[in-house]
Symmetry: C2
Amino acid sequence: MARAPDVHICEVAPRDGLQNLDIFVPTEAKCALIDTIAAAGVREIDAGSFVPPKVVPQFADVDAVMAHALTHKSATIGALVPNPKGAERAIAAGVNAVYFVISASETHNRANVRRSVDEQVEGFRAVRAAIDARPVGQRPQLMGAISTSFGCSLEGEVSEAAVCRVARAFAEARADEIGLADTVGYATPKSIRQIVAAVQREVGSQMTLRLHLHDTLGAGLANAVAGLEAGIRRFDAAVSGLGGCPFAPGARGNIVTEDLVFMLERMGLSTGIDLDRLMQTREILARHIPAKHLTGHLHEAGVPKVLRSAA
Amino acid sequence: MARAPDVHICEVAPRDGLQNLDIFVPTEAKCALIDTIAAAGVREIDAGSFVPPKVVPQFADVDAVMAHALTHKSATIGALVPNPKGAERAIAAGVNAVYFVISASETHNRANVRRSVDEQVEGFRAVRAAIDARPVGQRPQLMGAISTSFGCSLEGEVSEAAVCRVARAFAEARADEIGLADTVGYATPKSIRQIVAAVQREVGSQMTLRLHLHDTLGAGLANAVAGLEAGIRRFDAAVSGLGGCPFAPGARGNIVTEDLVFMLERMGLSTGIDLDRLMQTREILARHIPAKHLTGHLHEAGVPKVLRSAA
């Protein structure tokens, strides 16, 4: 296995990228998307969500997609879960990582998972216990993701204290990692620095942090760079900038993986990702998803030939 | 007059934003655009270019547009010039600022102004002398702009030495300010920091620097933040992300003024600009310019109501 890249990117298009579409993407296309992402060298893929199909019909085929995704041994295959029941399904499916979401915004948490933040923390503890009860070799990683860490389209600004409260709960319940999610894309480089520093103080520097960024207002890559400068080395991103949250009105797509990879590599930071192969995901997506949902500066401008050697 | 804003933004849509369009924007629309920009509180407007109409037909009406722009006394009204003849016309028109361009890339300089870099430096000296020969109260500011400071779509990477050479020439010929232009949008936050620091070393900290950024590859606002962190407080930007260079293939639009203003204000940095009024420029542009040329995250997502108080 090659040495670890400087920056670890988790591709979330198969989950976050599809959850807000009103078009059902066929199972074969989801699998082809995951195959191309894996072939490009991406080392972590958020491959789907274990939610009831009546809540998010897009993931009615999550068991089949996950079984296929898990044939790729070069990547950590993860799944988002909203509650212990979802986690149980994800664990049974054999995922490598479970992403459990709690929102810093009480209003968004109720809209998203229909529970209070305190009830959701209880749910996380139950998942931790269920995973710990399994044999050592069969325990997926358990990641805590804090939605609306940088603002909420329902509540507006979200306080540092609200984010730190959830971070502390995750840390106390032994999350393997904590993700700070800008669910609706309201972060600025300043708030990234502020919240990351506050959470680092709250949970200590031993805890690995991740940033999950949406590019609603144009500052997506600026926020990623602010995160880098604050010491973050793990980022979520979605090919073609897909993404959104069904329960967070106004949320736009994730930061664009292709653009992020190109910028990082040009800054001398390795990602381990083959950009040309990653950009082939566009063809798969374009067959099923209307063009208005597919963004990305590199796709629009083309990868500059004079700079090819940098990629 | 209100106190100076933390960040000074020069609106370049009337010049950079229009120069690459194959549609002639009527004189009245150009004037209405400038009126709305001025009414929004923008303190510097790049209002047009004094180039021969057969080279850039868009500016055939530059004298009329400039005369109208100069009725706004709340803003510095500037004009781009490619040579001493253009500067002569700009000075005769009574502009407050002359932007004189020299490219760090020899190839782009020849494509853009049909002279070598050395010949262009001679031209700048002639303009400096012509301005200095005028009575004190009638001397416009003379800004030196270094095109392709962060890469060239004709030459590829541009060396720090090539940028510093032009910066030194501008400084020695007493430019009132030096602008570093990412003409084709190839900069990264890393190259911004590197080139800004190199130029600061070359010309000294007394020289005011400006950044002119295009968002070809998605890192536009990230580059602006890198500039801020390097001490830059003057930025060019274009409403609706208009822009491009007729002689730099592959260049995309400037960073979007609306998105820049919103991000800066949310970071606690004042711009002196009324975002609501600035966004009214969209209506004027949309009447004459096809939608594909009009970008901007705020225009697409809408200004989040829950964050209105921040703007």
